[in-house]
Every structure is written in structure tokens, then in C-alpha cells.
């Protein structure tokens, strides 16, 4: 490949990384808001949050992308910049999976901890912030690590609506070179390296957080299992 084509690929990497970071930020916010809402006292809050997860986990990420990109402008009269359309679709979809992780980790905290908070007359918000989340968050990290790899793979989907991400620039280079094996091998390798760095980073984060509450991290004996499972994969963590 010539230098110009490599520059094109690098620009694609940059767009993919932007999508990944922004999508992960949105997905994290959605996960925590929806996940905490699913443990709420009022049934209506739990119901709405549950409906959200079922809808977004039930449809495919690609259909969400199409919907945000093609239907939103027609339906509501405003169009999103492709980057934001991609971030919105990815963040909302993977946030729904993340919500299940958050819910699972929260319900896995020993009930006595919550009761202790009630006995000390903490407000619900204080219990969440000071007791439940500090213990639940480290447990969320391994499944979140899998989810962020899923998100990375999901970013490739936005190339279908013409965003200049890594997969898209790859297909441009393929058209220029007429050489499929070479370019797609490079693409797969680049994605793999990013995924590898992500899982390593998450493992580091897990160790930090668990050390913070005096726990040793679980040793990864088997390779990670995909968390973004079907609509029935309740429980998370």
C-alpha cells in the first residue's frame, strides 16, 4: 500500500476510536441510569426501564443505526450529523446491554449492606452512592470489558451508512487497490490490536477498583464470554 492509502486507513482508525470513546461514554451513562432505575422502588420506573432494555436489546444495532439515520430526519424534521447518529445508535443499544450488567451487579451486593444503610438512616441516594455502587462497580468491570469489545465491533456497522470509519476506509482502499486479502487482513489485525488493548486496560482498571475495596481480582482462567447475549440473558454479572 502507498503512503496516501495508509493515511486514509489512519483517518479511519481515528474515526473508529472517536466512535468507540463517545459511544462508550453514552453507553455508560445509559447503563447506570437504566440499570439503577431497574432496581427502583416504584414499579412504573422499573417497568419503563425494563421496556427500554427489551426494545433496544431486541432490535439489531444495525437497524437502530438505520432508524436513527433515515427515520429520525423524516419523522422529526431534524437530521443528526453522521458521527452523532452513530454514537446515539451505538450508545443506546449497548447501553441497554450495560443496564443489565449494572442491575445484576447491584442485586449481587449482599442485602445486609443495604439493610445496614437503612439502619444508619441513609437516604436512598446516599446508600446507592456510598454503599452499593462502590461494591458493585468492580464486579461490573469484567462484563463491561466484553461489552466494550462488542461496541468496538459494532462501530464497524456505521460504515454501512457511509461514515468514514476504519471499515469504510478499508473498503475504499480495496476499491483503489483491487486487492482484498491484504487490506482486510490489515483491518482485522488493527481491530484485534484495539480490542486487545481494551481488554488489558479493563483488567488493570478492575485490579485498581478491587484493591480499593480490599479484594483480589478473579483470575481469568477462561477467555471472556460474550455478555451481549439475547433478550433472555438477564442477571448480568
Amino acid at each position: 500500500m502507498t503512503q496516501g492509502l495508509w493515511e486514509l486507513v489512519l483517518r479511519g482508525v481515528w474515526v473508529t476510536l472517536q466512535l468507540l470513546v463517545l459511544g462508550a461514554l453514552l453507553a455508560t451513562v445509559v447503563s447506570f441510569v437504566v440499570g439503577v432505575a431497574r432496581t427502583h422502588r416504584r414499579w412504573i420506573v422499573r417497568f419503563v426501564a425494563g421496556l427500554y432494555t427489551e426494545v433496544f436489546r431486541g432490535t439489531s444495532a444495525l437497524i437502530m443505526i438505520f432508524w436513527v439515520y433515515f427515520v429520525l430526519p423524516l419523522a422529526f424534521g431534524w437530521q443528526l450529523v453522521p458521527m452523532w447518529a452513530g454514537v446515539l445508535a451505538l450508545g443506546l443499544t449497548y447501553g441497554a446491554y450495560g443496564a443489565e450488567i449494572v442491575r445484576g451487579a447491584l442485586t449481587a451486593v449482599d442485602p445486609a449492606q443495604r439493610e445496614g444503610g437503612i439502619a444508619l438512616s441513609f437516604t436512598p441516594w446516599q446508600r446507592m452512592r456510598l454503599i452499593l455502587l462502590p461494591q458493585a462497580v468492580p464486579e461490573m468491570i469484567p462484563p463491561f470489558a466484553n461489552l466494550v469489545v462488542e461496541l468496538l465491533k459494532g462501530t464497524a456497522l456505521v460504515s454501512i451508512i457511509g461514515m468514514g470509519d476504519l471499515a469504510f476506509s478499508g473498503s475504499l482502499v480495496r476499491l483503489a487497490l483491487q486487492e482484498s486479502v491484504e487490506i482486510y487482513t490489515y483491518l482485522l489485525l488493527i481491530y484485534f490490536v484495539i480490542a486487545f488493548l481494551l481488554t488489558r486496560g479493563m483488567r488493570l482498571l478492575e485490579r485498581r477498583l478491587k484493591a480499593g475495596i480490599g479484594k483480589a481480582p478473579v483470575k481469568a482462567t477462561v477467555a471472556p464470554v460474550r455478555v451481549a447475549e439475547g433478550a433472555s440473558a438477564g442477571g448480568g454479572a
Binding site: 432490535t59 444495525l62 437502530m64 423524516l74 459494532g154 464497524a156 480490542a195 439475547g230
Partner: protein
């Protein structure tokens, strides 16, 4: 919001065609991934390192890279190597291969969950290796893994729209085709979105019943 019910009715025949292709791809992809996954699981367990290690690395690689790029890879590379398949076949193989790296872990967990005593009993009865697997270990392992495999079937369902990019006429392609002809995007895209929610919801209900039957 400009919703037109006539467009929905008009889209239904296309929708039916796409639905059939989607379900076909899903069924075949599941079969491929279940079969290949078992092969990988058994290969990774072999004591010979030069077999288990490459299989482990290769499946890890496939699992951590986008299905979309793998699909393009197969679609453009296989013909260059003189192997021409229909788009649907290529797509089924790509999905099956991608998900086999997940089902492999399911089988592995299932095999590891078979109590050691079962292995010892097989040894005590002097069963040959193949019969140990086919008669003792696998029947017990497979029963445990059915619910987890079902979850991946639902995931696969949600990945079938990707086949659009290699011209497989599944639901999303049909919707897009219809949208390009009529300039109505809202109805076809919403119809197939709802269809996906319904199918995956029904599948998960079915799975929960199956789970209750099997795991007790």
C-alpha cells in the same frame, strides 16, 4: 410524524420474503456455529499443544474482530481463491464461523461442568476414548449448554441484517429496497424493527421454558 398505514400494507409482501431469508440464514448459521463450536471446543482441549494453541489463538482473533469485516473478507477473498458460493452461503458461513468462537466457550464450560466422577467411572469401565465422549460426557454436557446456545441464536438473529452488505435479500435489504423505490423509510424500517423485537422476545420466552425443562 408522517405515518402511512398504506405503506405498511404495501410493504408486507416484501417483508415476508425478507423474513423467510432471515430465518433461513439464522437456522443454517446456528447449525454451522453449533457444529464448528463443538469441533473447536474439542480441539482446544486436546493435550497436544501444537493443535490446541493455534485453535485458541485463531478463535480469540475471530471473536475480537468485527463480523462485518470478516464478511467482506470472505465475500471478496473466497472467489479470488477460486471458491465461488452464493451470497447466502458465504453469509451463513461467516455468521456460523463468528459465532462458533462463542459457542465453543459454551461447550467448554459444559464439558468442564461434567463431574470428575463420570470420567473416572468411564475409565473404571475401561471404555475407549471415543465411547467415553459419545456415551458419557457429551450427552451430559450438551444438556447443560442448551440455554446458553439459545442466547447465541438470539444474538445471531440480531446480526443477520449485516448480510445486507453482501446482497443477501434478508429483512433489512428488503426494507431498504422498498425505501429506495418509494422514498418511505419510516414504515419499512419500523416494521422490521418491531419484527426483530417480537421474534427475539418470543425466542427468549421459548428458551426460558426449555431451560426449565432441561435444567433441573
Amino acid at each position: 410524524m408522517n405515518w402511512d398505514w398504506n405503506a405498511v400494507v404495501d410493504f408486507l409482501p416484501h417483508f415476508r420474503k425478507g423474513l423467510l431469508v432471515t430465518l433461513q440464514a439464522l437456522a443454517l448459521g446456528s447449525v454451522v456455529s453449533f457444529a464448528l463450536g463443538l469441533v473447536w471446543a474439542l480441539l482446544v482441549r486436546t493435550p497436544t499443544r501444537w493443535v490446541s494453541w493455534p485453535v485458541g489463538v485463531a478463535t480469540e482473533f475471530v471473536r475480537n474482530t468485527p463480523l462485518l469485516v470478516q464478511l467482506f473478507f470472505l465475500f471478496y477473498v473466497l472467489p479470488a481463491w477460486g471458491l465461488t458460493f452464493s451470497a447466502l452461503t458465504t453469509g451463513v458461513f461467516a455468521i456460523g464461523l463468528h459465532y462458533s468462537t462463542y459457542t465453543m466457550q459454551v461447550y467448554r464450560a459444559g464439558i468442564e461442568a461434567v463431574p470428575v466422577g463420570q470420567w473416572e467411572a468411564a475409565t473404571a469401565l475401561n471404555l475407549p476414548v471415543r465411547r467415553t465422549w459419545t456415551v458419557v460426557i457429551l450427552p451430559q454436557a450438551v444438556r447443560r449448554v442448551v440455554p446458553a446456545l439459545g442466547n447465541y441464536v438470539i444474538s445471531m438473529l440480531k446480526d443477520t441484517p449485516i448480510l445486507m452488505v453482501i446482497t443477501v435479500p434478508e429483512m433489512l435489504s428488503e426494507a431498504r429496497l422498498y425505501a429506495q423505490e418509494t422514498f418511505r423509510f419510516t414504515e419499512p424500517l419500523t416494521v422490521i424493527g418491531v419484527a426483530f423485537i417480537l421474534i427475539s422476545y418470543l425466542a427468549s420466552l421459548l428458551l426460558r421454558t426449555l431451560e426449565r425443562r432441561l435444567v433441573r
